[in-house]
Amino acid sequence: MSKVRVLVGTHKGAFVLTSDGKRQNWEVTGPHFAGWEVYHLKGSPADPNRIYCAPSTGWHGQVIQRSDDGGKSWEPVGSKFAYEGTPGTHQWYDGTPHPYEFKRVWHLEPSLTDPDTVYAGVEDAAIFASTDGGKNWAEFSALREHDTAKGWQPGAGGLCLHTILLDPGNPQRIFIAISAAGAFRTDDGGKSWKPINRGLRSQYIPDPNAEVGHCVHHIAMSSQRPGVLFMQKHWDVMRSDDAGDNWREVSGNLPTDFGFAIDVHAHEPETIYVVPIKSDSEHFPLDGQLRVYRSRSGGNEWEPLTKGLPQSNCFVNVLRDAMAVDTMDDCGIYFGTTGGQVYASADAGDSWAPIVRDLPAVLSVEVQTLA
């Protein structure tokens, strides 16, 4: 029978939650790397026992840990993320040039086919890759050297490259997103990058339709239809049917279209999920009611999913990398909160139950479906 393994990164360590295919009874292990901030950990699709993890602390900086046994044991691998050449500058909050400085890894994206290859999205914004299991890292510097890069400004969380999507049908194509520069795509394996922000409209920047400068919070893609992308922007939920060349808003009847997390059903590419958050200044659900919204039409028409979720006095946030889906026949949906709960639904969102309630603030959630 299939198993599910949920990988949870928190403010104070990583946790591994496992269950059989019913997804009712869970075994919890952790904290791994107790006391370290784990922005993200993710398993290799090519070898599920291979998991990459990115713990960091303000005192000691970034390390990368790797497991080859499904998260039971870990070995530190390479932690040197050196920008290629002279790093140059980006724009600081006050508009002045600010030197690029490596701060931390926000996202690790293992290759779809090679367990030894993994990509890292970092702050200050850049993408690195390792082809030796995380021991050595090299930057795809063409992104940071893009013509627009000198004008990129950090979002409130820093100038972070937080989203990496690998196209299963085209190994040369990678999508990334940076706060607050926007979304970019390479079609040549990282040698060149183009902004893909046409159609995004952001009222809080001088030119609302600018080529870059949009605060993209997260992008999701169905592996069955890699050309179709769904985006949770600072405000607005967006959709692209042409690999990001053009976007259109699909916020529809959402009660608020601010939020961070977004994901796509594993088997229904028109079924998408978001967690609406009240506003950019109030990072919690509307009216203290934690509600996932589901659209079965690829956006615009949304329904609230509330069964099993707190509907009063709930003031947590759900961060951009803290939602994931499994690939069981009955698609499971998972998300973690800044209040330390990880909720699971084994019926595509119709009903929810907490796997754990009292972890440190959850920064990321990933799921592995195991044979």
């Binding site: 107790a34 006391g35 370290w36 303000g58 005192w59 000691h60 390390v63 530190p76 932690s79 040197k80």
Partner: protein, 94 residues
Amino acid sequence: MLPAHLRNLARVGAEVAVEAAAPATIDSTLDALEARYPVLCGTIRDHDTLQRRAFIRYFACEEDLSHQPADTPLPEPVLAGREPLIVLGAIAGG
């Protein structure tokens, strides 16, 4: 002596003995430490500049050596092995 996070990372006890090249300084001691435990590279000093990370402090013989030039010889009791060089995670962040 190492802070808890680094003990866990390097899988060592609180106190580690290393032989530094003469004249033993903070930098040559940390060079020897990192050569023996490469996983500590970048966790005490920057990978490239070898500058002390912002929230790390060096103490020995009840003195804060953090702001001394990194090529200053270590105090004699440390060289003699009677006192430790303490690498400390500064109290910061609440």
